[in-house]
């Protein structure tokens, strides 16, 4: 399975995603520079975390105008797998591949810590190696991670089971105390209605090796592999 990691000026988790695909998954992977518009031949694209264009205006707002973005949209429209992590999720919101918007953390502070994620929908190409209700330990690291959507959008997300991950406590309960950033209904990750585009604030690439403290992130990458091998109808 051939992965492409899209690099915007200011991306800084590009290398981490690349290493996990190459060293842990042992699959082919290439960087895609933001000025390239060719994403042919890839089976999945990763939009990594970081601070594209410094996030000086609004997270992802300038990355939206990079030449590569139109290609990413076409790739997604064609059913290709797109995983946006952290800043990648923020960019997916800005380019309209996912609904909703991101607000600043309720604390108004950057927060980097491990959180618990409850798997809400394991029938996606990103979660087929998980069970529903399973609790994953995955770190977050962001300043603007409070997911927000209007009531109509939220109802549609719920109706289509597009909420994939929720922040939860150790026991898997989705409670306010387990919400690290003020996200609406503890939403940590969503897919598009077709199910081939996932945006998530937590960083699975940071917990895909035993030495780093958790292997839970690997389940997401392994799910993508499994989906590519036996394409499920989304």
């Amino acid at each position: 399975m051939r992965f492409g990691v899209v690099v915007f000026p200011g991306s800084n988790n590009d290398h981490d995603c690349y290493r996990v695909v190459e060293d842990v998954l042992e699959e082919p992977v290439e960087y895609i520079w933001h000025q390239d518009s060719d994403v042919e031949g890839f089976d999945a694209l990763i939009l990594p975390g970081g601070f594209s264009y410094g996030d000086y205006l609004r997270t992802g707002a300038i990355a939206r105008f990079s030449p590569v973005v139109e290609s990413v949209k076409r790739f997604a429209d064609g059913g290709g797998l797109v995983l946006g992590i952290c800043n990648g999720f923020q960019i997916l919101l800005e380019i309209g591949l996912l609904p909703g918007a991101m607000l600043r953390n309720q604390s108004l502070k950057f927060v980097c810590q491990y959180v618990n994620l409850r798997v809400e929908n394991n029938e996606t190409p990103f979660t087929n190696q998980c069970v529903n209700g399973e609790v994953l330990r995955v770190p977050i690291a962001h300043n603007e991670g409070a997911y927000f959507a209007d009531q109509t959008t939220l109802e549609a997300l719920r109706a289509n089971q597009q909420v994939v991950f929720s922040y939860c406590d150790d026991a898997g309960r989705v409670v306010e105390e387990a919400n690290p950033n003020g996200a609406l209904e503890n939403i940590a990750g969503i897919v598009n209605d077709r199910g081939n585009v996932l945006g998530m604030m937590p960083h699975p690439e940071r917990c895909s090796e035993e030495m780093l403290g958790s292997l839970d992130g690997l389940k997401i990458f392994r799910s993508m592999l499994a989906a590519a091998k036996a394409p499920a109808t989304p």
Partner: protein, 749 residues
Amino acid sequence: MVEPAITPDTIADHGLTEEEYDRIVELLGRPPNHLELGIFSVMWSEHCSYKSSKSHLGKFPTEGPHIVQGPGENAGIVDIGDGLALVFKIESHNHPSFIEPFQGAATGVGGILRDIFTMGARPLASLNSLRFGPLQIPKNRYLMEGVVAGIAAYGNCIGVPTVGGEIHFSEVYNGNPLVNVFNVGLTRHDRIFRGRADGAGNAVMYVGSKTGRDGIHGATMASEDFDETSEERRPTVQVGDPFTEKLLLEACLEVMEENLIVGIQDMGAAGLTCSTSEMASRGNTGITVDLARVPRREEGMSPYEIMLSESQERMLLVAKPGQEERVREVFARWNLDCVAVGEVTDDGLLRVTDDGRPLAAIPAVALTEHAPVYERPLAPPDDLAERQSLDLDRVYIPEDCSAVLLELLASPSIANKEWVWRQYDHMVRINTVVLPGSDAAVIRLPGTAKGVAMSLDGNGRWCWLDPREGGKRAVAEAARNVVCAGARPLAITNCLNFGNPERPSTMWAFAEVVEGMAEACEALGTPVTGGNVSFYNETLGTAVYPTPVVGVVGLLEDVSKHLTQWFKDEGDAVVLLGPASEELGGSEYLAVVHGLVRGRPSIDLGLERSVHELILKAAGEGLLKSAHDVSDGGLAVALAEAGFQPSGHPLGCSISLRVETRPDAALFGEGPSRVVVSCIPDNVQRLQGLAEEGRVPFTLLGTVGGEDLTVSGPDGKPLISVAASEAKRSWEESLPGLFERPQERDFDR
């Protein structure tokens, strides 16, 4: 433009003395013009010239088998085998952080990162050492929030993890917070670059951000005391742009990987002036720079402003002949300015021109090697004997040591710093093996089995009481922290934060600290590869404690064998390696509970080295499950902290303690060279054997396990008995509580 006249007032405004001015005239063979005066003033400022400290810094040992680059470059370099090298350095940004905490601290991070990647290394991880006045004072909370947010904003955006450090609080830092930042990077021996301008005729290229009016005379500002008007200095603080620095980092590493350049130096303090004169001076060459070609952010900037601007995210490099175009292409891809602004010459002069019109011509070495060096007068403070006398008969022994333990755990200098480090991205680049909170941070080195452990440490209180012993103990503790991660300390960098050097007592403390540190570096086999001196940390005549901050890097050949400070399993044995000292002088306990900063700390460096060797040996044999340095708050705090693993229920332990003098001294004394380790009971005998071989005192203290932390005295009487969860709560809730529910007090200055 009318050239301003040089008057005694102009000279004084530039922070130069009359003698210094006469020396300039002598070196030039004529009076300087206004631009030249500005150039001399920044290069001869304390910050750039080290004129008060130079004669002392020579006492540091700087050579050793691992040392690739000692002091004098942008950063130090140590060899770690397999063709790899670590590049590391510490920098202070104390003055700007007091004036503008967010940008002051942010640009400190930007500066230290440039020092690392200018040598050819990709930054691996940052640490920081911070000191503030008590948080009950609103101004100190404002400073700390701003500094932490500034460090976070810069480090997080550029994508270099901030993996730990230290924070201390004391009244003496009220008007003078200390903000020291450290970074370590990784490079290969065949990709080390230096700040040298070699090869006459080679192009001198300016890369990075455009030049603006920010930060003019920042170095001079950092070389003065503060008073009520200091906040008017805000325009001398630069503004950071971590996004541009990220681009600059990637572009620089690309031209280095392609081997396109001869030398490179960042434009930090004193900007274009410092980079041109230092590069020429190191290369025994000259540099001509034409200001008309310098990319500018605003119109109408004078040559003086361009030469003295401290705009951030700029570098000066010398290209290899014929490679200028390729260098330009790389920087263009990253959307950065890259302009040939001049060339290397063979006449030894720093020549400044404006579209060919000569503006200044100064021998480069006049600005660097020929800067004044002062042997400032030294005298111990009048009250030294009083500080050092501690009459313990007049210090009551608390009845409830459990309550004292809880109080110490909540003392901000000891309490959990998660409120701070959760604001730092400490995991980016997926190399952080030990997350913040343990004695040392551990980073794995990608593509190898190796790891690097690092720690920053200092203790101003000890140095105020006895600068020589305090200096020794600062080095010993930083090295011990790295040893507690199972790593062998290789070398140190240091940041020496002091008051006004023109005060003989400050200079005496400085000299003593340096000699103490030098002795410890010799004894522990950790040479000094460079560092930073920050004087004038003084507001309205009140100086900070003499505060050396020591950064140590250590190597783990096999990173999977690293240790952390936390107990692992119930039933494991708890052992104290090192002397069973009961030294109360200079302790956090004495300061917090009794309001006393008294005593005379000391250290036996031979024993310290033996403790290091013992732990490394035991760790190498796989005998140890944890190792935690006994420091602030003494043995009782160390035992409590060892039970506070990052996740899950805290672990208690039952300990029995011999008490020779008094229970508070045995529990809370901070005698050095002590480490609490845990191991399976079957390994106790082997560990004891190794300790005897290594002549290190060995004390079996007790067992890990249970809900409570209990310490009983010689007669079996309980000295401490608290629930581990209660202890953890006290330790965890202190810092957030101070920010969220402050009990305000007036800023007394």
